[in-house]
Chain length 474, copies 2
């Protein structure tokens, strides 16, 4: 997912905190031209790719070093003013909105690779580097960073939201792939968590606590992530199915057999039609799996044969191979453009995206019941999913000027989340909670766990200045 | 590692907190025969497999349900009395010692499998079940739980120390394999963290915060872990090398090539000699790698051929295969008994064990410099390691009555930890911090991160009753 999802609408009950002129003066004195008060810059930093809107931050600091971040936080702390870290701006759940006012700390200029340890399969980067920049920078090492959320997000943002995407079924998510952090705390202190060792039992797992904390516990200034050897062989295939059910059962059986498939994406027949129109393709307009296999030549062949056998059993047809990098790129570009294709299919529409993830055994039930519901609603939609992980996204294509349609789409989302939770799943597989899913988080984990999160937040950020108003209200 | 490591010696500056008779009376009223005051029972619960000693807890509650745990914690909280969770008693770093007094909560009777979700490759268990009990209980599902720290530890204890062991190179550690928890908090409340979904971005990762928290943030009462399909083919092999360096370089290259080896253990020539004597084997008394490959028949063959080629390049000889389960069991039993074999090699000795873990590229340097050091010291030792992860254990075989020898062994450990940290490694790969490694933790992560841990502890356990005096002093 990598584009605006719904018509922006102003949040209710915004309570802006005071940003004293003395702080602005101090920031300008410290940062000079690195501190912008320009309306356009502030507005750009006060929104993300989601559907919510709030007044922009009062200033934007373009940090160029850890010291810059620490100094900005220290100044903000002195005046009890919120700070909101900003990377590529591609988050979806209102993470970047200054819902309590404050200043934005833009780390996009902190985009250097600090050290590549190819022998250890690790790299340490600054938070503003994007995943594509990172892969470009290391392309001569024979290694790659696999996490691919679609958008060319920053590694800092991906860490902060515990992102994943198409390759997670094989390579895991940011949870598994961040090894160590340098972090600026709420008081502006610089701390380190984790090491480059592959495993450790040394005290609380602060790294994993910070990954997915959405900027509310600290601002990441250095990130060490795992890399992987570029697979010797890569092969991609598409396969069409008579029904979503047949496609999903193929996936379930593939996962249950332990086939180390690298990517397996579901695209429903509506979405294939939209993709064909948008990307000038002639894919069969039936539910489709888009798969990729990584490994040795023999391993890839064996995996592909196993999956082909399973698919055939469920009525899969037209197993088509894409072995050249160009063909693969064409297919994955079509997949990544599914969102745009969908939005173009209904002129003037906006999409409200869902992000549930369920245990694989419940994937068919959860998907099919939800498809019935959206079909009955009459709202046009698209459906894509990282189904190997049990994670999928509906996009309800609504008329932004039709409040009733928006409400019905939100109602569909609520029903979908309730269904996923009742099946042992989660309200968000990869986008995060932000502002939009606070209620869902409470439903999912219960008041006790959210109170524990709140206690940690209060302990580590007593002035509530680190991206306040996200995940839960303190 | 699964046995006593060094001569027990009383901890200095023990500060016991008051355990009022009123609490004992209340526990006896609530728990009846489930609450024991017997000296032998208390003493058994006041020690672990490590070398430190403290006065026993004042009482032991044998919990049989989450409600039992919650009620015991609530009563203890009422009187500000420490509680120490107890599983199989196999931890190594003083985790179970009542260093501030208090009561032990034994969860070993909470050893049921609560639900197997074979299709999702997950199982939910009570914390007292041991890894062998778990694998016995699920043996008809075609699945297994791979984490194997040597000792038949409880899943609760393994979660609390973020344990790993021989299979971690392929299957990860408890960090990667615990999906969800039910936990009793410091106030006796029952909360839930995580879901059975494979991934989630729903708020702070409390599951990962609690895993490895050594009982200081909550007591786990239900644990959901990942399972794996039993591999279609398994093959084990041993290979001898002219030097530790040659063996280690074989491992480094194997990992760097991305070979998905399931186990790769180093045993040095001293230890092979000890193992031969103890287990009546005739292994070549040279540095040895003990390896296991899991996968499809073709995949296993391919992996094994790749590793054999690498080993040959480094002078590896006598690649011997063990393909039957009986042969494999014989080899792995010998490996797991290495500790006992070593201790028997010097009558009356005790072993002080180390647990450093370094990035794989530094493994040879770290190991070889440390071997030189211990050789120069004249102290007999053994050396084994989960070298695929960069984790290894020296055991210094000391005369427990020789204070000078103990001090020199502790000094060797200090030098080893300093070396590992300077190489980007950790003081503990899998045993945890407990009492013994508090200083090392500070060296490793710095005062800032330890202060963050302390702030979390204070927020979640304001009376400091959950296993106090472990990891850091509040």
């Amino acid at each position: 997912m990598n584009a605006p999802t719904a018509a922006a609408h102003l949040l209710p009950d915004i309570k802006l905190r005071d940003v004293p002129q003395a702080l602005i003066d101090a920031l300008q004195a410290r940062f000079g031209v690195q501190c912008s008060l320009a309306q356009a810059v502030r507005e750009q930093h006060g929104r993300d790719e989601g559907s919510l809107q709030a007044p922009p931050p009062s200033a934007v600091v373009f940090a160029q070093s850890t010291q810059d971040v620490a100094d900005a936080v220290k100044l903000a702390s002195q005046y009890d003013v919120p700070v909101i870290p900003y990377g590529a701006g591609s988050s979806l759940e209102g993470h970047l909105l200054a819902v309590q006012g404050g200043i934005s700390i833009d780390v996009s200029r902190m985009n250097q690779v600090l050290s590549v340890n190819a022998e250890d399969l690790t790299v340490t980067v600054q938070p503003g580097i994007t995943r594509k920049q990172l892969n470009d920078a290391i392309k001569d090492t024979g290694l790659f960073f696999p996490i691919d959320p679609g958008a060319d997000a920053s590694i800092g943002g991906m860490s902060a939201t515990r992102a994943s995407g198409t390759n997670a079924v094989r390579y895991g998510t940011m949870r598994e792939n961040v090894l160590a952090l340098q972090v600026v705390t709420a008081s502006g202190e610089v701390i380190h968590t984790g090491t480059r060792a592959k495993k450790s039992s040394a005290g609380y797992d602060l790294t994993r606590l910070l990954v997915g904390s959405e900027g509310t516990l600290g601002i990441m200034t250095e990130i060490t992530v795992r890399l992987y050897p570029l697979p010797e062989a890569v092969s991609a295939a598409i396969c069409s199915f008579p029904s979503i059910e047949a496609a999903v059962h193929t996936v379930i059986q593939t996962i249950q057999l332990g086939v180390p498939i690298a990517r397996v994406e579901l695209i429903d027949h509506h979405t294939v039609r939209m993709v064909n129109a948008h990307s000038k393709l002639t894919l069969r307009e039936e539910p489709m799996l888009l798969m990729e296999f990584h490994g040795s030549p023999a391993g890839v062949k064996e995996q592909a044969e196993t999956v082909q056998d399973i698919a055939t059993e469920f009525g899969g047809q037209a197993f088509e191979w894409a072995s050249t990098p160009e063909e693969r790129t064409r297919l994955w570009t079509a997949r990544h453009n599914a969102y745009f294709a969908a939005v173009q299919s209904r002129p003037g529409c906006r999409a409200i995206s869902t992000d549930t993830c369920v245990p694989i055994s419940r994937l068919a039930d959860c998907l099919l019941e939800s498809v019935d519901e959206v079909e009955a609603s009459g709202i046009p939609y698209f459906l894509v999913g990282h189904v190997g992980d049990g994670n999928f996204h509906f996009g309800y294509l609504i008329d932004p000027n039709d409040a009733d349609e928006r409400n019905r789409a939100e109602q569909l989302n609520h029903q979908l989340v309730a269904r996923a939770l009742s099946m042992g799943g989660t309200c968000t597989g990869e986008h995060g909670v932000g502002i939009h899913k606070m209620g869902f988080l409470l439903d999912e984990t219960g008041a006790g766990a959210v109170d524990m999160m709140r206690a940690i937040k209060r302990a580590l950020d007593p002035k509530n200045i680190l991206n306040p108003g996200k995940i839960f209200v303190v």
